[in-house]
Amino acid sequence: MAKLDSRQASEMGMRTEQLTGRTQQVFFSPEESDNLTYSWAPEVDFEKHTELDAENRSANEVNRHIRTLMEEGYGSITILNPGAKHSLGVGILSRLSLRFEGSLGYFGCGLLDGPNVVVTGRVGWSCAENMMAGTLVIEKNAGSSFGAAIRGGDLVCKGDVGGRTGIDQKGGTIIAGGRTGAFSGFMMQRGRMVILGDAGKSLGDSMYDGTIYVGGKIADLGVDAVEEDLTEFDCGWLKRKLDLYGMEAANGVENMTKIVSGKQLWNYDNLEPTEKKLIL
């Protein structure tokens, strides 16, 4: 993974809050490869493939069956006839190549942490909510709250996406091949969002970090979202990222619009809430 120095990060609008010593979160180091997977994660073989027909199974049964197959070593699973059922493919926390031949309903593929997932159809509301790592590629359209609160990984929709895309995004990358609805990037905190089509109104409202790139028209910007010039680094990153998923900006990445936080809405100081209470 390419390392960003502070200058590059600043140019891209990513100004990281310094919370050193205040968090209990355990950060993995890429050098400690053992820490990149959970100790209990099943050993799967990507050459071992199977299919699972979801037609007469409940979402719960399908999700349990996926886990059972992973424990049996299957690293490549195709789900047939998902039928737009809700909550399919959720909570997969280790490596897996998963393919849905069809569409998912609400809350599809939430809480992913590592698998590579492809959905050949459409997804409903709140797809990939809280995704942490891995990739999820949707071949058709997506509903609202796409990628709500994602923290990592690549979330790609090749069609149009609904409102509030990437609401509360905390990291990772969201790519929309078509347009997005109102309030996309609302309260974005980190990460990057790429919209190749038009963006609905109030784009990036109240975002306090992160970067949004738009290829089409922007209906209007939300509170404290501002336009910034694209840098060479932005263009390079966009080109590489879009190439990965066979996508391209209609007018070239160099003509995309870059939106970042104006940093005028911040109301944070250096104190944690618990510390504030002590003072008050």
Partner: protein, 311 residues
Amino acid sequence: MCGIAGLIHKGKSADIGGQLTSMLQSLKHRGPDSTGFALYGNPTENEYVIRFKLAEQADLRTGFRIHDEVKERQAEVDRRLEEMGARVTEKDIATEYARRYRFTFDGDMKRLADYIEDVEDVEILSIGHGLELIKDLGDANTVSGQYDLGGFEGTHAIGHTRMATESDVDIRSAHPYWAYPFNDIALVHNGQLTNYWGFRREMERRGHRFVSDCDSELIAVYIADRMDQGDDLEAAMERSIGELDGVFTYVVATEDKLGMAKDVMAAKPMVIYESDEFVALASEEVAIRSVFPHEIDTYDPYEGEVRVWQS
């Protein structure tokens, strides 16, 4: 949270009763308290269909005289229809407390409706050339079975599964709402209006009456009122986006059209499937899949979007 659904066949009739039952049953988890159907059968030019109830379902479990009272109320409705010059050509007893009449009438429909509703505990659910509005307690299969809706032939329909949050679990509070007293206009809605009371008072000053305190009924009457003032359906719906305040997605139907509108925040869900012959829309795609189990292309309408389809 409630579930709403609609379907329209372009240029032909089909089993809309059975199709809407499947769609609404798939949305049962969004609202198990009551289910309602507004079905648009093949209209006859000179005849109207009236659906009305003589009591609430729960009333039948109270008191010794209720069964006699229901019969007395029906007799009074019959007498008033005759007095107003309406000629009843067909009578169906849908349930002990609900009736469906077909009748001819060439007088003032509002006067007729007001006179019938003046009978204590009688409530008109709908009047129209094609519209038949059925709503009752229970899920879609229960209501559809009770009123024998499977096999109902028509061009378009809208329906609702209700999770009661701010009013009682009864037929009066169930959706859809007929836009009293305008023929053939019905509406289902998922959301909440925040300027309800001010708007309602304004409509009441204009002479409209409401059977419930439900904001969905207000939207139905608002749309009908705008159309009465000369707007077409699409123009009335476009205007509603700016004038109604709150979060809402609603589906409205007239004698030959079906429309949907979403507020400017787009906070309430809607999924649409459209082909050359058919349009289906619902709060969740699983409802559409109950009619089209194979892979289909669907999409979510965007904020402030209004769509209208012709049967």
